[in-house]
Structures are given as structure tokens and as C-alpha cells.
């Protein structure tokens, strides 16, 4: 029965699957009966995990994302209207990781993005909305995907972000002054992608992030605030981009993060909380950046993410059998990419963009 599952694999959606099997043990072994966990001392063999009958419904996810992009009038789209630019980033990055960004009309996307720009230089979540760094980063990331950062007036955008740094090194999200380490990450990530990091006081920015470090090794949104996997991603990535990972107690934080994996294989964002696919990204990318990602069971997590797929209509949800959305579809696919799931492009854990996009920006000639 399990053998049938191999045959159902579509070689064009998962091109390197065969290669992976071919390069390791032969197919003929009783793989389907191999226990999911490999022994602690043997090499962690991913193939066993994939042989349990789950596979990524890549094609369906592509269709799902394209259908969401087109919809404009159902309730979900209306509720998401104010963050449409974030939605576009999640959807387009997922398409790129799945190798399908080519189906999108980049001209159309770029011209829409530019319409979201405010005269201050920042971007709104949609046309006519107020600017905020949350949306500015998405705009820059989307343009990066299409290699179109050059359409921006770099000075104008970077000046908007630079102007939001406060005296203590922290960043406000917009002119109204809310402070959060999420905004520190966004500012640092955006400016780095624009090659403008030297325009802010990096030392102070790092100092502020370090002041949000907790006694469990994690980070909160402001000094004294509780650690939370999403916030930890922001702080670890900001420290990574500024070459400041030595500020992190990697073993302490790594232990806290690896304990986010619960019995089902999924990851939660704080102790004693339910698992959720979006934490596959926040926790995994943090663990990857501090080189402790081997402390969790990758196979079980792969299985958990795959279990959250809508196998009929495409898309991934927070937990098995919940309603899917673009946000969790992105985090599920990005998580699988960090787990080296075959057939997916690699994603960069700090800039949250495909590695080839990041390499083009920083190493391109």
C-alpha cells in the first residue's frame, strides 16, 4: 500500500526527490516500515519521514495562492485589505520558493507596489493607506524578488526609515511612535537590502535589542516583555544582519527554542501553548541562525506541516483541519524550505527571501 505512494509523486513538482533517494539507500529497502525516528546515533535520514505517505501539494498551493490574489470581494480579502502588501509578500515568496514566480506579471505587481508609496517615502498596506515600516519592508522584499529594487528612490525610502530611529536606538513603526523590536528588525532588514545600513546608528540599535533580552535567553518587544518566538526571530535576525550574534547565549536560547516542539511535532511560540505552523518559521529560522536547528526533530516537524495542508484545494493552515490562509501557507512552505524539503528553493533565515535573491543583492557583481 505504501509503495503506491511513491508512484503518486509527481516528478515535475518535486524534481530532486528521486535524486535524494538515489543518492542514499536503495528504494527497495522496507522503507515504509522504518520507524519515523532514526536512532540517535545514526544519521538523521529524512527520507524515512517522507516515506510515511505525506507529500507537499506544491501544485495545489500555487493554485491556491493565485486564486487568493485574484479574489477581492470575499470577507477574508476585505478583512485583509489593509495589509494587502504583506499578503502579496507572503504569496509571492511562496511562489518563488515553489519555483513558480514566473507565472506572475511582475510589471503589474511593481506598478501596484509603487502606488502604495506615500509621499514620506514609506509604504502603506494598500493604496491610500498610511505608511508604516511593516508595509515598507514587504514592498522592498517584493521588489527584491523581481530584482526591481532599482525602481525605488533609495534615498527617499531609506530616509523614511532612518527618521524613525529614536534616541535610545529603538525604532518607531511610524510617526505615531509605537516602539517594538519588530520595527528594529524591519528597519535593519530594509536598510540592509537597500545597502543603506550605515545611515542609522547600528551600535545603538543593537544595544536596544540587547536590552530586550530576557533571562530565558529570548527577546521581547520592549525591555522586560516576555519572550515570544516571533519576537525572537526579529531580534536574532536583526543581530545576525548586524554581525552581532555573539550577543546571544546560543545554548540557553537554543534550549528554550527547541523545547517549543510539542508531541505532535509542531512548534509553539511560547511555553505551554498550542503548536502552529507559523512558528515553524519563527522558531526554525532563529534556531538556524544560532546553529542549533539540529536540536529539534526535523522529520516530525515536516510531517506536522504537511498534515496542515488542505490536500484538496491547496493552502496550509495553523493546525490540522483548520481553515487555510496565505500567511500560514507561506510560513509552512518557508519552514519546509529551512528543513531542506526536496524541490523547494532555499530561503535565507534572516532576510526571509530566497537565498538566490539575497545572494544576488549582496554578492552580485
Amino acid at each position: 500500500m505504501k509503495e503506491d505512494l511513491y508512484l503518486s509523486l509527481q516528478p515535475d513538482t518535486l524534481p530532486s526527490f528521486r535524486h535524494l533517494i538515489g543518492s542514499s539507500e536503495p528504494l527497495s529497502t522496507a522503507g515504509a516500515l522504518t520507524p519515523l525516528r532514526s536512532e540517535a546515533n545514526s544519521s538523521s535520514d529524512f527520507i524515512n519521514g517522507y516515506r510515511m505517505g505525506e507529500e507537499l501539494e506544491a501544485e495545489k498551493h500555487v493554485n491556491y495562492i493565485l486564486s487568493v490574489e485574484k479574489k477581492k470581494d470575499d470577507f477574508e480579502s476585505v478583512v485583509m485589505e489593509h495589509i494587502r502588501i504583506n499578503g502579496a509578500y507572503w504569496g509571492l515568496t511562496t511562489l518563488d520558493l515553489l519555483g513558480k514566480i514566473g507565472v506572475v506579471d511582475s510589471e503589474e505587481v511593481v506598478s501596484w507596489i509603487l502606488k502604495c508609496q506615500h509621499e514620506s517615502g514609506g509604504f502603506g498596506g494598500n493604496i491610500g493607506h498610511d505608511p508604516h515600516v511593516l508595509y515598507t519592508l514587504s514592498a522592498i522584499q517584493i521588489l527584491a524578488l523581481f530584482d526591481k529594487i532599482n525602481v525605488l528612490d533609495i534615498d527617499k525610502v531609506s530616509n523614511y526609515i532612518v527618521g524613525l530611529q529614536n534616541e535610545d536606538g529603538s525604532f518607531s513603526g511610524d510617526m505615531w511612535g509605537e516602539v517594538d523590536t519588530r520595527f528594529s528588525y524591519i528597519a535593519i532588514c530594509s536598510l540592509a537590502l537597500l545597502h543603506c545600513l550605515d545611515k542609522i546608528n547600528v551600535e545603538k540599535a543593537v544595544k536596544y535589542i540587547v536590552s530586550c533580552k530576557n533571562l530565558d535567553g529570548g527577546f521581547g518587544c520592549t525591555p522586560g516583555a516576555e519572550s515570544h518566538a516571533g519576537q525572537i526571530f526579529c531580534c536574532v535576525a536583526a543581530l545576525a544582519i548586524t554581525g552581532s550574534l555573539h550577543q546571544i547565549d546560543k545554548d540557553l536560547l537554543g534550549w528554550w527554542l527547541c523545547e517549543r516542539q510539542v508531541k505532535s511535532g509542531g512548534l509553539n511560540g511560547r511555553p505551554e501553548k498550542l503548536p502552529d505552523v507559523c512558528y515553524s518559521w519563527w522558531v526554525l529560522s532563529s534556531l538556524t541562525m544560532i546553529d542549533r536547528v539540529h536540536w529539534i526533530d526535523k522529520e516530525k516537524l515536516v510531517k506536522y506541516i504537511l498534515d496542515c495542508q488542505d490536500k484538496e484545494k491547496g493552502g496550509i493552515s495553523d493546525r490540522p483541519d483548520d481553515a487555510v490562509d496565505v500567511f500560514h501557507t507561506y510560513f509552512g512552505v518557508a519552514g519546509l524550505s529551512l528543513l531542506e524539503y526536496p524541490g523547494l528553493k532555499a530561503i535565507d533565515p534572516a532576510y526571509a527571501l530566497p537565498v538566490d535573491v539575497v545572494n544576488r543583492i549582496f554578492f552580485g557583481r
Binding site: 525516528r37 522586560g224 516576555e226 554581525g243 547565549d249 495553523d318 545572494n359
Partner: protein, 657 residues
């Protein structure tokens, strides 16, 4: 979208959704019209209120409300305010009402919480209700981190003392032990109180004992609930931590040896405080530094010398590097490895066979404590840790709890460290390596998802055990002699092969090593090896190293000549977990001018994809490299390596012309 079931909506539900969507769409359109035309009428504000109440994350609407408030307040003239002093207050009161309704819809809305803070900061509203309101939200969800953050904001605004807030966490914890948010806030408040030595929070020992009692209740009530364990771990840290000014991630660490080496050269003598000057802003320069030779044979000559610096605590800066500059008056010529190293077993001869040379092996003793005050504290610390140990042994006899086991292993390790640090020459030390190793082996079995975490810990303890006595270390020392007749080379090699090591530790005991064989282990990182400054030959073959950036520490080994990284996982991974730990433009640790220089492209090699290899190998002066058995090691890549490292004489056993 969280927690919404995946099922197609019924026709009725669909109808309801459509109606809701139409209503929301119309609110959005109206709102944007008002916003873009700066219309702040009562009607407009009502539309906006309806919008944020049904979609509290609509940031632009909150911004509009702030603009409206500012507009309305500034439109009131002085005389208006005199005749009706409450009108400003009522404007802000309305804002508080709107945020309350929005929070009732979604108590996790960043926009709504922030709007409330913005209103309170204006100072026209009473803050008396805020704590009550918080009670409501925290009752709804005791872990709501927005509410906890808001509580800290209100406490600061109301000037509530840390003690009052600590009492609040006690109440929350007594209500339900499983409240990580409360334990977290407690750790923040308590560390303030301890730091400031507030009345009742001094001496530290008394407070920590009480806290231990509190957290034990939680741990024993439900050992599988994580909430209390992280707090307990922090408390334990307060007890066992030696008050070291330098933290773990600095090098050299506190109390370690400052090591001076002469590049690849033979014994030197006459190292003392007059031949070597040390400039640093933080050590006590008045003291004469005493230099001791490493690898000594009592001749007063050695390749490495060590001295202990006493750091002045007040001059140390915690979160930044504390540079020390060492200047040497005289150094000898450089001696390079001249023959190819063969890692075959035949070349190694058991060290015991040549006892007369055993004096060459230096066994550096750990720093000993001599301060009387520290010894007093040590006594209390050791007693506390011993009590904890018996307590957790008791817990584990009743229940098989993984964090309990991990905690016991950590306690035993901490006790061993204390014993070693404080031991007097006549004390009979009791060390628990075997028991700790057993605990970690057991944990690998009972908690397979985290087996690699325990395995890393296991490896560290194994290396501690192995380096803990000269005898145990000697068992792994071999004599290397090469066959070349012209050669007079003879090395002592430490061979730590086939030990299932997944992580390297106890480097401080191995600073004198020149030749190290770590082959046939499970290493994926070589972090820490950079301290072994005498290392000239290193065998890392048959490990699990997956990226060249993981080799970055080797760039600091100036004497490294022969490196074997064959049969690893270079090129086999799409994700590089060391990508941000090595210097590159990605993390801005090198300048924007960093590039591949004038290297002419080699066919089949895309420089953008092998920048890690370039960045590592261009700084290594290897004469010998084995890289066979890796995915990346094809001919093109080898050509690239030869080009990057002109010093290379042998590649995969083949002599280059």
C-alpha cells in the same frame, strides 16, 4: 487566521459572510474618504469607530483617530476650555471607550493597545481604572502578552513599586502554577530588586531560598508543565554562577590563560613580564605578571607560555570586546610542516610506549579559588546545590520527567565545577561524570525529538571527563612519526576519534595540542578550536560538517598547515546554519568593498555560490588538504581551491607541481 475550522461554509454562513463583507467594504470606503479629505465630524468619527471595532488591526483608522483628536483639541479656544474644562477629558474618554470595544473584539490587537497607551500618555485621563480593566483581560487569558506589557506600562505610569508588582505575580502564580508569563515577569522584577538590594531582598541567599521553595511547589505539582522549569533554571544560574566578569562567549574567558605562542617555532625561554608587555585598560598592571611555560620539561623552555591576568571589575565593559594588546620583544624563526601528514593508524604509536616523554604533556590545572568571601558563598552554594540534587533524585524516583532529569544532570555538573574550582589539595573530590553521562544517554532515549540536544551536552561532559585527569588524557595521546627518512618530525597527537562527539568542549585543557585527530565523529561545527593556537595538523574527516562557513574558526589558527575535511557534508545542504556566524557582507562584518577580487571565473564555478569557500580558504595557509568524499569536491572546485590557496602542496594526497 487562527483556530478557524476548515469546512466549507453553509449557504447561510456564506450569505452572512457576504453581508459582513459588504458592510465592512462600505465602512472602509467611507472611512478612506474622510481620512483623505481630513473630515473629522462626529459622523466621520462614528464610521471610523465602527471600522476599528469590527477590524481592530486597521492601523490607518487608529492613525486617523489620533489626527482627529489632535485636530479637535487644537480647535478648542482658551475660552472654550475655561467654560467647559471637562470637554477635553470627554474627548479622550471616548477614545478609551473605542479601544475597549475594539479590544473586546480582539484582545491581541497591537493597534488598539497602542492607541490606549497614546491616549493615557496625553495625561487627560484617569489611570485608576486601568488595573481593573487588566484584571478582566488577564482573567480572559492569563498569558495575554499584550495585557502583561500593558500592565508594565501602567505600573510605570502609576509609579507602582517592584514589590507590589512582584506580589501580583505571586497571586497569579498561586492561582495557577502554569503561567509562564507570571514567572517571566517575576524574574524581571526580582532581578531588579536583587540588583538594587532593596530592603527585604538582601542577602541574596535568603531570597533565592524562598524562591526555590515557591518554584518547587510548581514543579512537584506538575513536573511536565514547562512554566516553572525555566524560572528554576534561572534561579539555579544565580546560585551556581561564579561571579565572572567575562561571559561564556568571550575569548579568552575569565580565569583562563592568556596564551602567547610563537608561530610554529620550537621552545623559547625567558618569557617574563619584562620581555612581554601587555597593554589593556582593564587588568591590574601594577601586579607583576608571572609567566608559566606550557608543555614544559622543567627546562624553563616551552612553545607556549601562560599567565593569569587579574581583571579590575570596574573597568570591564560587559557587552563589548575588551581588547588586550600583547607585544613580544623577540621571536624565533618560523618552522613549517615540511612533509605530508598521513592520518593512517600505522603512523601513530601509543603514547604509553614512550614514558620518558610524558613530561612534554602539560596538564593545566583549573584556576583555584582562594578568596575567603568566595569560599563562604561557595559553602552556601554547594549546600544548596546538594539539597537540590537530593530533592530532584526524590522527584525522579516518583516520576519519569525529562526536564527533571536534565535539571539533575545540570545540577551534578554544576556541583562538579564548584568542587573543582574550590577544591583544596586534601579534599576527596567526588565527581559525577558517569552519572551525568548516563542521564544524558537516558534522555536521548526518552525524548527522541531532542536527542541531538542531549547528545551535544553528552559530548561536552565526555570531553570534560576525558580531560579531567592527566591519566585519562594520556590514553588518547599518540606519538606520530612519519616515515620520510629526511624528516625529523615527531609530534604528539591527541586522537579523539570514534567517540560519537557532536560538539567540542574543554578546549582550555588542550591549548598545547599541535596535532589533533577528531575524525569519525558527528561534528557539524568546530567552534572553540580557534583557541588551540599551536594546532598545525587537524583531521576532521568523517564528520557532519555541512558548510565552509563552519570552518571560519580555523582562519584564526595561524599555524595550521594540514587539514583533512574529507568525507563530510560539504555541498550537501541547501541551508547553511553558519551563514551568519562568519564574516561576510550579509552580516556587515566586512566592508562593502568585499568582493572576489580579480579572480578570473573558472568554468563551472559560480562565485556567488561559493563565496564561503573563498572567504575561508583565502585566509588559510595550508600546505595540505584532503577534501575527497564531499558532494562539492569535483574537479572544478579543486581547481578553484588551488587557485585560492597558492601555498597548497598536496591536495587529496596528490602532490601539486
Amino acid at each position: 487566521m487562527h483556530g478557524r475550522p476548515r469546512k466549507p461554509p453553509t449557504p447561510e454562513e456564506e450569505k452572512a459572510y457576504d453581508a459582513k463583507a459588504a458592510k465592512l467594504r462600505s465602512l472602509q470606503t467611507q472611512f478612506l474618504h474622510f481620512h483623505h479629505n481630513q473630515i473629522y465630524t462626529k459622523e466621520a468619527l462614528e464610521v471610523c469607530a465602527k471600522l476599528v471595532e469590527s477590524n481592530p488591526e486597521y492601523i490607518t483608522a487608529w492613525n486617523y483617530r489620533k489626527l482627529a483628536v489632535e485636530h479637535i483639541v487644537s480647535s478648542h479656544s482658551e475660552s472654550d476650555l475655561e467654560s467647559d474644562p471637562d470637554c477635553i477629558k470627554s474627548i479622550f474618554k471616548e477614545e478609551l471607550r473605542v479601544t475597549e470595544r475594539a479590544l473586546a473584539k480582539n484582545y491581541k490587537s497591537y493597534g488598539a493597545w497602542y492607541h490606549r497607551k497614546w491616549v493615557l500618555r496625553k495625561g487627560h485621563s484617569s489611570i485608576d481604572r486601568e488595573l481593573q480593566l487588566l484584571q478582566v483581560f488577564l482573567k480572559q487569558d492569563t498569558r495575554n502578552f499584550h495585557a502583561w506589557n500593558y500592565r508594565r506600562f501602567v505600573a510605570a505610569l502609576k509609579n507602582r513599586s517592584d514589590e507590589e508588582e512582584l506580589q501580583f505575580t505571586t497571586d497569579m502564580i498561586n492561582d495557577n502554577f502554569s503561567n509562564y508569563s507570571a514567572w517571566h515577569n517575576r524574574s524581571v522584577l526580582l532581578s531588579h530588586l536583587l540588583e538594587k538590594k532593596v530592603d527585604g531582598y538582601f542577602p541574596k541567599e535568603k531570597v533565592l531560598t524562598e524562591e526555590n521553595d515557591l518554584v518547587h511547589q510548581a514543579l512537584f505539582t506538575d513536573p511536565d508543565d514547562q512554566s516553572g522549569w525555566f524560572y528554576h533554571h534561572w534561579l539555579l544560574d544565580q546560585i551556581v554562577k561564579i561571579k565572572t566578569p567575562l561571559l561564556v562567549y568571550t575569548w579568552p574567558p575569565h580565569g583562563s590563560n592568556l596564551e602567547v605562542w610563537v608561530d610554529g617555532c620550537l621552545d623559547v625561554e625567558g618569557v617574563n613580564s619584562s620581555t612581554i608587555t601587555i597593554e589593556s585598560s582593564m587588568h591590574d598592571t601594577n601586579k607583576d605578571l608571572v609567566w608559566k611555560p606550557l608543555s614544559t620539561n622543567n627546562s624553563g623552555r616551552a612553545q607556549a607560555w601562560v599567565t593569569h591576568l587579574s581583571f579590575l571589575e570596574e573597568k570591564l565593559h560587559f557587552s563589548q570586546a575588551n581588547p588586550i594588546k600583547v607585544t613580544m620583544g623577540h621571536s624565533e624563526g618560523i618552522k613549517a610542516v615540511s612533509d605530508m601528514i598521513s592520518w593512517g593508524d600505522k603512523k601513530f604509536h601509543s603514547y604509553e610506549a614512550r614514558p620518558m616523554e610524558s613530561s612534554q604533556i602539560n596538564f593545566s590545572n583549573p584556576l583555584k579559588n582562594s578568596d575567603d568571601n568566595d569560599l563562604m558563598a561557595y559553602k552556601w552554594n554547594a549546600e544548596t546545590v546538594a539539597n537540590e540534587i537530593s530533592l530532584f533524585r526524590e522527584l525522579l524516583s516518583e516520576t519519569d520527567c525529562k526536564i527533571g532529569k536534565l535539571t539533575l544532570a545540570r545540577l551534578l555538573t554544576a556541583l562538579d565545577a564548584m568542587i573543582l574550582y574550590n577544591k583544596t589539595s586534601d579534599s576527596n573530590e567526588v565527581v559525577h561524570f558517569e552519572e551525568v553521562l548516563e542521564l544524558y544517554s537516558d534522555l536521548m532515549k526518552v525524548d527522541p525529538p531532542h536527542s541531538q540536544f542531549y547528545k551535544d551536552e553528552y559530548s561536552l561532559v565526555l570531553l570534560q571527563q576525558l580531560t579531567s585527569t592527566p591519566e585519562s588524557l594520556l590514553r588518547h595521546c599518540y606519538h606520530y612519526r612519519d616515515s620520510s627518512p629526511s624528516s625529523i618530525n615527531s609530534y604528539i597527537c591527541l586522537r579523539l576519534c570514534n567517540l560519537s562527539l557532536s560538539r567540542i568542549g574543554s578546549i582550555e585543557q588542550l591549548l598545547w595540542i599541535q596535532m589533533l585527530d577528531l575524525s569519525h565523529n558527528h561534528l557539524h561545527s568546530v567552534e572553540g578550536l580557534e583557541a588551540m593556537q599551536l594546532l598545525s595538523c587537524l583531521n576532521l574527516s568523517n564528520n557532519k560538517i555541512g558548510s565552509f562557513s563552519a570552518l571560519e574558526p580555523l582562519k584564526l589558527l595561524k599555524s595550521l598547515k594540514a587539514l583533512n575535511i574529507s568525507y563530510n557534508e560539504f555541498g550537501a545542504h541547501s541551508v547553511d546554519t553558519r551563514r551568519y556566524s562568519c564574516s561576510s557582507p550579509l552580516n556587515h562584518t566586512v566592508g562593502a568593498d568585499w568582493n572576489f577580487g580579480d579572480w578570473n571565473p573558472i568554468d563551472g564555478i559560480d562565485f556567488t555560490n561559493c563565496w564561503e569557500a573563498f572567504s575561508i580558504f583565502k585566509d588559510l595557509k595550508l600546505t595540505q588538504l584532503e577534501i575527497i568524499g564531499n558532494v562539492i569536491a569535483e574537479e572544478n572546485f579543486k581547481l578553484f581551491l588551488v587557485k585560492v590557496m597558492p601555498s597548497l602542496k598536496w591536495l587529496d594526497g596528490v602532490e601539486l607541481q
